[in-house]
Each structure stands twice: as structure tokens, then as C-alpha cells.
């Protein structure tokens, strides 16, 4: 098929960007969206132009590197990561807009590549369980009810891609933060740091310049791993609980 791409081109963080138009031809329906961009880049290189920079790595939907907004949708029209989106979701002659994640907490590095280190700092603020190597008790010492283990897993599936932030009209990172808070706080192992974890992670999230949550639900709709919207409520509950506890001293 033949497509018209309108791609956000931006040389680096300090230069303003704009949309550029490219025609691509000979696109197979079996190609992934990223392979279609590979095809474009091969052409651009041979024509002596700068290929389009985009983040990608595992190309099987788990590393969370790929991060394109396609026709206004984070990761495009299917509920999956960009790397698992195939060209059969488009039609011959389509015009496709490709943009980077847009959030002040995710500054553009180049073209479609953004800096998501803010997520790392949110995790560093408390998204862990303090368990130095060697200090662990026998794994069966504390059984975990299956429901809790399943709930922890459901939240631990987050791949940190940032689609939630990209899709949120407010650029909020509540779904990302709540996924980690809920993963760890539901487990007995995570219980001792339950309060400091949620307070510190939320404080860091705010400090990074993410927007506030107005519960639009766009994050959960865009999430390729299906982190559910009620996670946000669960985190709010943890946060209020921690604040109350802190107030009591």
C-alpha cells in the first residue's frame, strides 16, 4: 500500500519542531508500524536525508521503549504497543500523523524520541521494597493470598512506556505511579514501607511536572497492558491513609 506520513521532526530539545510530510510506497500489511518506519528511514538514508529517530528495542511489546502517538492515539488505533501494531490496521492511501509523547515531564530528545527519565526518578523515590541481597527469608515464610498475588501481578505488568501520560489531556502520571504503588503495597513484603512509598512517589511525581489527574480515564484506555483505572483510586486511598497516619504521628 501507499501512504502519506506526516511526522514530527525536531532536531534536538532546543530547536523547535514541525510536521514533515513523506510518501511511502510498497508497504505490506504484514509489516509492523516500526518496520514501515524502517522502510522510510532506509529511503531517507539513501537520499542523504536524516532518518526519523524513534525509540524501539524489543519489538515484542514488553520493553516499553516504543512511544509514538499515531493519529492522536498513544500507540495507535489498537490496544497494544506501537511495535505490535501492524499496517493491516491502515488502508491504502491513508494519511497518518506520527508525533512524540507530548508532556513537559517528557522533553523531546529528537524527532519522536523523548526523555522518560522522570519515570525512573518516581521509582527511585520509593518504588521498591528494601530487601538487600542475602537478607531474604525463606520464600515460603510468608504465604501471599492468591488474590493479592494476582492483583500485585496485574499492576506489576506496567512496562513504563508512558502512554498514560501521552494520552492524558492533563499529562498526568497517576496511572504509572499507582501501578507501582499498588503492586508493592498489596504484598506483605511491601507493607513496612507502605506509607512512605506512596507519599514519596506521589511527591516525586508532582515534582517532575506531570499534570493533575481529573479522572478522564484516557490513561487506562491507552495502556497497552491494561492497567485498570481503579488503580488510581486505590492509590488515593493509600495516600490518604498514609497522610492520616502521618498526621497522627
Amino acid at each position: 500500500m501507499r501512504l502519506t506520513l506526516r511526522v514530527w521532526r525536531q532536531r534536538n530539545a532546543d530547536t523547535p519542531g514541525a510536521m514533515s510530510t513523506y510518501d511511502v510506497d510498497g508497504i505490506s500489511a504484514d509489516m509492523s508500524f516500526l518496520e514501515m518506519l524502517d522502510t522510510l528511514n532506509e529511503d531517507l538514508i539513501l537520499r542523504g536525508e536524516d532518518p526519523v529517530a524513534f525509540d524501539h528495542d524489543c519489538r515484542e511489546g514488553i520493553c516499553g521503549a516504543c512511544s509514538l502517538v499515531i493519529n492522536g492515539d498513544a500507540h495507535g488505533p489498537e490496544r497494544t504497543t506501537t511495535c505490535q501494531l501492524h499496517m493491516r490496521s491502515f488502508h491504502d492511501g491513508d494519511t497518518i500523523d506520527v508525533e512524540p509523547w507530548r508532556a513537559s515531564a517528557f522533553p523531546v530528545v529528537k524527532d519522536l524520541v523523548v526523555d522518560r527519565s522522570a519515570f525512573d526518578r518516581v521509582i527511585q523515590a520509593g518504588g521498591y521494597i528494601t530487601a538487600p541481597t542475602g537478607a531474604a527469608p525463606e520464600a515460603h515464610a510468608s504465604p501471599v493470598p492468591k488474590a493479592d498475588a494476582d492483583s500485585a501481578f496485574e499492576h506489576a505488568e506496567c512496562i513504563g512506556c508512558g502512554a498514560c501520560v501521552a494520552a492524558c489531556p492533563n499529562g498526568s502520571a497517576m496511572l504509572f505511579t499507582s501501578a507501582k504503588v499498588n503492586h508493592l503495597n498489596v504484598l506483605p513484603q511491601g507493607s513496612p514501607e507502605r506509607e512512605t512509598r506512596v507519599l514519596d512517589m506521589v511527591a516525586q511525581m508532582d515534582a517532575e511536572g506531570f499534570g493533575g489527574c481529573t479522572l478522564t480515564g484516557e490513561c487506562a484506555t491507552a495502556c497497552p497492558k491494561g492497567i485498570p483505572l481503579p488503580s488510581i483510586s486505590a492509590m488515593n486511598k493509600e495516600w490518604l491513609r498514609a497522610r492520616r497516619k502521618a498526621a497522627r504521628g
Binding site: 511536572g209 493533575g212 488510581i232 493509600e238
Partner: protein
Amino acid sequence: MAVSGLLMLGYLVAHVAGNLKVFFGPEEFNAYGHWLRVMGAPVLHHAWALWLVRIVLLAAVVAHAVCAYQLSRRDVRARPTAYVHRRRRASYATRTMRWGGIILALFIVWHILDLTTGTVHPGGFEEGKPYQNVVDTFSTWYGNVIYIVAMLAVGLHVRHGFWSAAQTLGVGNARRERLLRAAANTLALVLTAGFVSVPVAVMTGVVS
């Protein structure tokens, strides 16, 4: 936002219940209006309870507006560059929270000037005769338009606001999701229908 919003929501529920007394005739409605002023008597002085409610409400409105302003500022800062390709997203109620809020704020000003102080009231505003005042307002076309539009905005605002407040307060979870959605929809519907029934009744002559 959740706490101030819920306070106002509680007020609206009481307000709509009171409004519906209009269907029982001028005496009962006016008596209700009078009771609001003597509420708490004889322990409290005349209208003290009412003023207390007004003060709490005013605080809630101010808090709600300030929070909304700060939140909006923060959200705008969080996305300095807009997407080139814009798409309709989220539900109508969700998307209209900000404009709906502004419409409601303007409405409240008009509503107070109209039926509390009588400053912009059409016809002769009479203190202590709320029934007649209501009928006067809804006998003008613009009174009806302003009121009905605002009440639709109330419905939309409450629909997302109530559910959203529950999430903010950490009450939401997967099991309660349907219950909370249903409660939000019901509240929105009952409030809007209740409020709108009054101008409709005046227009159709049921209340005159």
C-alpha cells in the same frame, strides 16, 4: 476538589428537594422559605443557620474554584505543546468539566442576584414571597434559557464530578465501579430533572 464538590452536591440535593415543594402551592413553598430563615430557632437567632450554610457554601465554592484553577494551570503546564492531530477523547461530561464549572459559577451569580437579592429580578421582587418570584423569573424566556442550560451543566458536572470525587477519596475499586457509575448517573439525572421541572411547570402553567 472532591470534598468541596461533595459539600455542594449535598446542598444541591437539599435544594432540589425544597424546589419541588413549589408543586404543593404557594403557601407551602413560602412557608418552606420562611422555615429556612428560622431554622435552628430558638437556639439560633433569625437566619443564623441560613447564613452558616451560606458561609460554608461560599467557602466550598471558593475552594472548589481555587483548586480548579490551580489544577488547570498545572495541567496546561504539563502539556506545553499540543498534539497536531487532535482527537475527540473521553466522555462529554469529562471534557466539559472546566467550561461547565465556569458556566455554573456565572449562573450562581445571576441566580443570587435574581432570586436572593432581587437585583436583576424581572418584575417586582418581594422578600418573603419566593413562590411569586420563581414564577416571575420563569415567565421570561431568558430566565428559562439560562436556568435550563445551567441545570444541564449541573447534570454533566455532577455526573463526572461525583464519580471522580469517589476516586479521589479512594472509595472506587473494580467491584464498586458499576455502583458508583450508576449512583453518579442517577444523581445527575435526578438533580437535573428536579431542577428543570420547575421552569417547565411554570411554562406549561402547572405552576402559576
